[in-house]
Amino acid sequence: MTDPIAPILQVNNLEVAFRTGTGEFDAVKGISFDLYRGETLAILGESGSGKSVCSSTIMGILDSPPGFIRGGEALLDGVNLFELSDKKRRELMGDKIAMIFQDTLAHLNPVYSIGWQIAECFRVHRGFDRKEAWRRVVEVLERVQIPDAANRAHYYPHQFSGGQRQRIMIAMALALEPEILIADEPTTALDVTVQAQILDLLIELRNESNMGLIMITHDLGVAAEVADRLIVMNHGEIVESGTVHEVFANPAHPYTQRLMAAIPGLGKHREKPSTEGQPAPKPILQVRDLSKHYLEPTGNTVKACDGVSFDLFAGETLGIVGESGSGKTTVSNMLLKLTEPSGGTADYNGSNIFSLEGKALLAWRRKFQVVFQDPFASLNPTMNVFNIISEPWLIHPDILAKQKFRDRVAYLLERVGLVPDHAARFPHELSGGQRQRVAIARALALEPEVIICDEAVSALDVSVQAQIIKLLAELRDKFALSYIFIAHDLPVVRDIADRVIVMKSGKIVEQGTVEQIFDAPKEAYTRELLEANPIPDPETMKHRRARRGMAV
């Protein structure tokens, strides 16, 4: 607190490397930045850019070995963190610098109540007795707006929702009133409306206590919403830095420009091929009154999906958007016949798919394929790419003769933007985007009419996301596919869909063309969703925040 204008944290020429079997891998290659009181610095980068390594190093939680600090310094109020003894360092952590993470369930201990866990900070760092510690716990929980804090402090982590758990993490981080808070992708796992609330809370708390906030994110929208200054990282280097307005208005580095160009939801809506002069198209799939009810042990009935009806036409992309728990994945699982519906019908070529059996079911499965969200989990780790893509032909032997498998796999790999050599690889040898391409190739192998994309691009980096969306659009036109595109991310849906269904709590709230939903939403919930979605434009976000009654 000597000089109010001096930075509280100075990182100079930080270099971090990892020892691997084949040599040393440089994760962070000499980066420098300053952090001042009361400001938010966003570190923006895609996976593998070194942004999280950088923050872990500052916090002293780098996995070491294999990681090690090769050079540079991090000055906290002029003291180099890397030269402190472990004991001194531990005293500073939590007290001066605190951190919150993306995965709240993994970072809260499931066997202690949240109050106990927060009280631990006070006991360890401040030496308060039980009563005083508990009083502080309730106070800090109230500060992050947990309702009924005095009682809820006795609850365990699994009894809170994802958004509330993130609030608890924040409470824990703020318990000792740190000067610096590092937030590593704090809202990535949350729904957009909850994300907006958490970001509001972070900004509010930052203003109250005048701390420095480092926000690590891959989401340009989040960066635009909260940041004052911005650092863009790529392959362990800072490629661009400046105030958030400068960077967004005039990105100088080609990488930043590419990143900005990849942002979904900013271009024109998809041009639909003209249907004039043709007879009105007949829907290929008619879903009527689809519902799925679960009976809870307590006797309550949970309606995961309730009276959902829609049509799917040939060659169109139907977007289904909704937050977690809205029932959108339940719909997809029922259409894929992974779960039995409690009621309703889905007519395909005049027959109800829910009553199909035997040969007819197998024939229908060929027409309906799926690409799941997590390309790490949707490919069998013990099979190589060739076996993964050719498996459908073993199940449906009438499609292709065995000696043609190799050529056909090579053809499909080229169609999805890979090379035939990839056939010999195993899933773990591929990047996330490449894996998703393999999953798409597998879905195409059966020459389906409909592909359900269940959050198919949600786990991917922005630039990869843009490539996959482009690929999906190309394949749709080339192979006359229809997509049911399920996503929580509105801009992505805006880019690819023709018509959109908005779901909430198992019901359809609104459905219409993409123009109707995005440009003139009728329902309040749709507007709320659109409003909460961060837009990568600092000016817009400033106005929105003002409207929500927040001081900026």
Partner: protein
Amino acid sequence: MTDAATTALPPPQSRGFKLLGLLWNDRFAFCSAVFLITVIVFAIIGPWLLGDVATKLNLRIRNFPPFSLEHGWLYILGADSLGRSMLARLVVASQNTMAIAASAVVFSMLVGGLLGLISGFSRGWLGNFIMRIADIIMSFPSLLLAVVVLYMFEPGVTNLILVLGITRMPIYMRTARAEVLEIRERLFVSAAIAMGASNSRIIGRHIAPIILPTLTTIATLDFAFVMLGESALSFLGIGIQPPEITWGLMVAQGRNYLQSAWWLAFFPGLFIMFSTLSLNLISGWVRLALDPVQRWRLEISGNSND
């Protein structure tokens, strides 16, 4: 990630040759493999080679101590209480020991694993029924069961294998079932169902390869248990009947002489220990070598050795 993937591309080699290379890289696993192959070779040709020597009595050298060449190299490990060559007896006993233990372990792993797979995969009464069988087997003292069964039926090699196999089955059933319950919820299984894959394809192609390494690890650990179980039964007189011998039986017989002639129980015990240890090391290696995600660990240790 992309860069790492390109460098990790293996040079074109035949599969068998590559596996041998990986085995050479892991020195412990290599030694274990050599030891086990030796034991197996002796188990096959031992009785033919040394069968007569092993039964030849020589009461003048009863409990002859080991590490002496006074009576020829056959007595380097000493002689037993009837003056028979320890070395010859160990070699001859390896046949019964390996045959019984391996058969019992393979039997319990295959049957138990298969039942576990089925019970994990089928919802409803069948799965529960299978698990209740496992509970019954587990709650009944296994040695008592063996005693009852072997008392009622003829105590022969086949019955011994069956009894040992059945009493060790529940551990495979439970492990397999627990893993299946987790794996079948994974997305690649959902994707396979959406392709129209049959249940047998899902179990055989997607689930079994993933649980197999766990089951083989348990099986190698079980190997020692089965050897000792067999020796306990033989000791009670309802397992292997003398003059047939196994290592377990030799340990049991040598027990009375622990103070006067320790080598009677020590050497067969040592062989049991080395077999189990080798199997453990080999199973660890097999688990890594068969798992495409883990295989690099073996390849890396190769690079550092070069």
